[in-house]
Structure formats: structure tokens, C-alpha cells
Amino acid sequence: MTASAHGHLFTSLFFFGFIAFSLGLTWWSMRRARNATGFFVAGRRLAGWQNGLAISGDYMSAASFLGIAGLVSLFGYDGLLYSFGFIVGWVVIVLLVAEPLRNSGKYTLSDVMAFRLRARPVRAAAAVSSVTIGLFYLLAQLVGAGAIASLLLPVQADAAIVLVGILMVVYVLFGGMVATTYVQIVKAVLVLGATIFLTVLLMSHFNFSVDALLSAAATASGKGDAFLQPGLYFTNKLDLVSLGLGLALGTAGLPHIMMRFYTVPVAKDARTSANWVIGVVGLYLVMTTVLGFGAAALVGRDTIIAANKRGPAARSSAWRWVRDAGRRDPGRLYLRRHFRDHPGGGGGTDHRRGHQYCS
């Protein structure tokens, strides 16, 4: 058996072991959630630290672990903006959002807004915004999950994306908030432990000197001091300011994060949750940037890009999908042909399928 096959066997065993464990947790949670409050907000009985760790698990995702470290390793300092922009978003949450949100005693953000405003339009707007945010968020997360799974397991990235997507649906659909909370707590502990382990190993390579790490990264990048300054990724000055504001103010609008504040008994626990997130995620984000500079110094830009082209490929295919949506939209296509054939209105023919579609 080759070393690679050995590696795949080990990671496959660990991966399927974790899936079996998390599905077991989901089955156990399914039996606990007896009503709507149990399913949607874990009965509002989670402790502040549990909820804080679960939110941290949401945050310490494939996209942030690979995304921030990857951006730092390829573009140097500009990647750091994602790390400190995310954490500043938590100032907004802890000071202005977390406690009032819990005090509202609702299930979702749209419930809170509908409490004060006209329910129908505000619910429609909240639904559109949640689905839009969820779609783009999932795109990045699933590409990240696919990239990791295809590197560690003997499966194609596309198959991994489908598998991971199905698993997510199963966790949420059957286990509700209790299952996702406990799965996220386990994940947070594992990811934080792995990140600390990698960071200690990396820093020991540089005798625990940040200066030595940064110099090695700057030299290996071929960009010198420019690698440690802004400007390699954000060539337009306003882009950096705009993204920075988006990260800090947008965190409070993430539906999957905000809905976790309804799971604790009182506002004080919501505050405790937010403080736990700031501590745990803050530490994690600093470490991902260190790992990024370490990757630039030890692995190198060319090897990183050659290892996986999935990110840029997914980004360009997603962009092509958005760009062509108008042209491809069947409804628009049929209507255009319909009005071309029948300027005065009336019935028409679905030219693609060759049958009448209205009369």
C-alpha cells in the first residue's frame, strides 16, 4: 500500500467516524426536540458558553480556514483584512444586537422585524435577503468543503460537494437547532485544536519569532516588503475601505449567526455567547493569518496554486452562471419568442419542446 493510500485510509476512517458520530448526535437530538421551540431554538435552554462555542463553530468554517490562510499566502497583507474585519463585526453584535435580539423572544430576524413593522413586506424582504446571503455563503462554503474533501479523500470534488450538501440538510432537517449546536461545538473544539497545533508547529520552525516568519514570507513571495503592506489584492483604494465596512457591518446580518441568539434563556447569556465568540474566533483568526504567512514562506505561491485550482475555477463558473442567467432564463426566452411570433398577444409555442404553452 502506498503512502498516499495509507493517508487516504486514515483520513477516510476519521471522516466516516466523525460523520457517524454527528449523525448519532442528530438522532439523539431528534428525540429531544418535542415542539417548535425545541426544534428551532433548542428550547431556549443552551448555556451562554455552549451557544458561544456553537457560533464559533459556524465561523470556523472551510471558507474562513482555507479562505483567509489562502488569501494571506497568495496576496500577503490584504488577506488580513478579512480576519480583523470579521472580528470587528462582533463589536456591533455584542454592543447593539445580541441582547435586544434575545429579549425579543422570537425565532428569526424576520419575526423581530415583523414585530414592529408591517409583517408581509418585511417578511418578504427578510426572506429574499436570507436566501441571497445563504446562496452566496453556501457557494463559498461548499467549494471549500469540496476542495478539502477531494484533497483528503479519494473522491471527486463535485461528488464531495453533493455529499456534504446532503449531510448539512440531514443535520438541520432532522436534528434542528439542538443537533446543529452540538455538531458545531464538537467542530469548534476540533478546528481550534488543529489550528493551535499547526500554529505551534509552524512557529517552532521560526523559533517563535513573528519577525522571522514575516521576513521569510516576504522573501519567498518574491514581492519583498510589498507583500507585508496593503495593495497586492486591493488595487483600488476604495475597495479596501468598502470591503472593510461590509465585513464589520455585515456580520450582524448573517441569518445563521443571528438566529443562534434566540437559543439562550436570557439576555445575559446572549452577551456571554458573544464574548465567547470574540475570544475563541479572535484567537482563531489571528492564527489563520499566521498559517497564511507560514504557507507563503514554506510552501510557496506556485505550489499552492498548482495544488488546487478549484477556487478560481468555481469563482469563474459562478460568474458565468450569473452573467448568462438572463440569456438562459427559459421564461424570458419563451416570452421573447412568443411576442415575436404573436405581436398581438394570444397563445404561443414552446419552440424548445414543440408544444403549445398557453392560449
Partner: protein
């Protein structure tokens, strides 16, 4: 009327509305006064704290974008001002959360307990800790 006001106040703090005992005018007035005092204290401390930390963040973003020469200044070996500013944002966030947590525990939590005591509510309902 008394019961519905009790429900609103209690539910604002996440407690179950279970009491059907009407409150006296003095009791209602006391609890409502405390809620107003909580809102007044929060506005006086939380808004300046938020504006202060957010202003430092925006200043950092502008500095990074428009003053590349300044943020490229080396503080210690390869560690430059830009890296220091990035780490400072983590420190500012930790400090802001810490100041808020200490202040709210000292200035707000006792008021909430007092309001709930007037309304005859327990100080907290059980979470699974």
C-alpha cells in the same frame, strides 16, 4: 391591564409570563422607572463605546488605503505599522467587549434584578449548564 404590562416587561428580559397577580401602581411605576433608567444608562455608555471603537476601525481602513508610506513604516524587524494596526483591531475588540461586560455587570444587571424582584420574578430561569 396590569397583567399585560407585567407580561411586556417580563418578556423584554426573556422571562416567562406566568403571573396573573395584578400589580399595584407603586410596583408598576417602580419597574417601569427602572426600565427607563436602564435605557438611559445604555445610551450614555454603549453608544460612545461603539462610536469610539468603530471610528478607530474606519481610521485604520483609511490609513491602510490612503497612507501606504506611513503604514509601511517598520516597527520591529519585518513587523510594520500595518501589521501592528491589524493586531490592534483584535486588541480593541477584546478591550471593548471586556469594558462592556464589566460595566453591564456592575451598572445594568443589578437594575434588571431589582425590576424583576418588584415584579416577583425569579432572577434567572434554568439553562442546561
Amino acid at each position: 391591564m396590569a397583567v399585560s404590562e407585567t407580561q411586556t416587561l417580563a418578556s423584554q428580559f426573556g422571562y416567562a409570563d406566568v403571573s396573573a397577580i395584578p400589580l399595584s401602581y407603586a410596583e408598576k411605576n417602580g419597574a417601569n422607572g427602572i426600565v427607563k433608567e436602564i435605557a438611559r444608562r445604555r445610551a450614555k455608555v454603549v453608544v460612545p463605546l461603539f462610536l469610539c471603537s468603530f471610528a478607530m476601525y474606519v481610521a485604520t481602513l483609511v490609513g491602510l488605503s490612503y497612507f501606504p508610506g506611513l503604514v509601511g513604516y517598520k516597527i520591529l524587524g519585518s513587523i510594520n505599522l500595518a501589521y501592528g494596526l491589524a493586531l490592534a483591531q483584535f486588541a480593541i475588540t477584546f478591550l471593548t467587549a471586556f469594558i462592556y461586560a464589566v460595566w453591564v455587570r456592575r451598572a445594568i444587571d443589578p437594575l434588571i434584578a431589582e425590576a424583576l424582584a418588584i415584579l416577583g420574578r425569579p432572577p434567572a430561569i434554568g439553562s442546561i449548564r
